[in-house]
């Protein structure tokens, strides 16, 4: 993300109302579960990222260029009918 965007978002965050209450009920159970699931899923994302880096470091001598970010929004923006 360009620095300008980061700065802008940071500014907006400061300006944003402190108590960001959702207009729909997110559900306590859903929040608690989400915290647990995302902790696990987040570590998987991190592991995969490190694995990609290791692979890239090892493979960079042979062919493909190293990829920093394994999951970009572009990678998901291909085709609605991905099958």
């Amino acid at each position: 993300m360009p620095t300008r965007t980061v700065l802008l978002v940071a500014t907006l965050l400061v300006l944003a109302p402190a108590s960001a209450q959702a207009y729909i009920d997110p559900g306590t159970g859903s929040y608690v579960l989400q915290a647990v699931v995302s902790a696990v899923a987040g570590s998987l994302v991190a592991l995969r990222m490190y694995w990609q880096r290791i692979k890239a470091a090892l493979g960079s001598r042979s062919e493909s260029p190293p990829r920093e970010v394994p999951e970009s929004s572009e990678s998901a923006a291909r085709d609605p009918q991905d099958t």
């Binding site: 306590t28 696990v40 987040g42 998987l44």
Partner: protein, 470 residues
Amino acid sequence: MSAEDRATRQPASFRDPSGFLFFRDGVLLRQVEASYAVHLRALHDSGLYDALVGSGALVAHEEVALELAARPGALAVLRPEVLPFVSYPYEWCFGQLRAAALHTLRVQRQALAHGMCLKDASAFNVAFVGARPIFIDTLSFEVYDEGRPWVGYRQFCQHFLAPLALAAHRDLRLLQSLRTSLDGFPLDLASGLLPWRTRLSPHLYAHIHLHARMQARHADDARSDGGARARRATVSRRGLEGLLDSLESAVKALRPASPKTEWGDYYRETNYVEAAFEAKRERVVQVLEARSPGLVFDFGANTGEFARLASERGAFTLAFDVDPVAVERAFADASARRDERLLPLRMDLTNPSPALGWAHHERASLVERGPADLGLALALVHHLAIGNNVPLDDLANAFAELVQTLLIEFVPKHDSQVVRLLATRADVFPDYDRDHFEAAFARRFVLRESWSIPGSERRLYLMEQRAPSD
């Protein structure tokens, strides 16, 4: 002139305090309230709006004069791009609900990449332009507050994951239950209905089975702790990305259960005379080219063969069929062609989509979303008149509410398809013949032309709705 006199709120637009849709002099506008200022600015300044609209992922809008606001206190008034037809999740086939789910996740990821986040994940926020899903709620974006769990998570599981999992692992027909559960499929019910083996999928286990248990366990928390536990839950940015990965994997792994249905193989299996089919096709093309309709409803469209003739000639065409497998095929075919004018929908004409939701106004009935310029009712009349005992007069009345011009095929009693319908039941249709058909429809329509279909006893009629004074 008083600004308030001619502004009427769109009836479904009342939940989100950030703003609402309204009509002014027939034009659809969106009032954005001052409370949404930070988020609207971020949407534009972060580049998210341009990125989403540029790729066709989000409905475009232009800002119009503030004086057009429906009521005082508006921050801005937007005029959104208007879609030819808004379909609802309970009318979609499996592939459409799946495409809408993946689209929602895609929009959410792109929002995150721009420092924003979706504040809900309702399936009603997605519509289809032909086979292409498009996000239609501009006010669903908010500035991402790192650490905060995703507010839309529960809704995503209820609106998308649970019905898709049920359709994939239990029965495709369960998708129709979305008509009665407008806020998505209850997770405890989904968990109970899904086969035990779905617990072996880590994604489905977490997002549905465990989710349902956690909901039950924490159901009374808000009362006992005043929401403290919910406020304590945190989700890191990487965690949120992992969660989205997991939801995406869960959705992508699902495939529709494929039962053999009555209509899926209609074109392949009937002894349809080739010449008759060709002749009918030519007449349809002739009518389409002479009338160049903007909106076409094809009733009983099967896999969309005839509907495609209309969409290829520029009409936004709804291909309605009762059979989920036929709609599935039509959608897969339209998606493969990236067709933006043909929208297949599951619709049972004997029980079409009613007005639903709060005060019957939230979701419009099929009739309220019409009328179409042209309706096609090919090889359909006998299914309604004989298969469902609908009197011919009532049939004419129903079509008169749905379309301006009608191209309808009459299938006589001695046609092999009708003989088949009557094979196992008493013939209680003494009036089912050409004369009675013409008389019934003449009450509501003016007959313009009719043609016999060579190689069959069937007949095609082109008719226009009578003006009330006729």
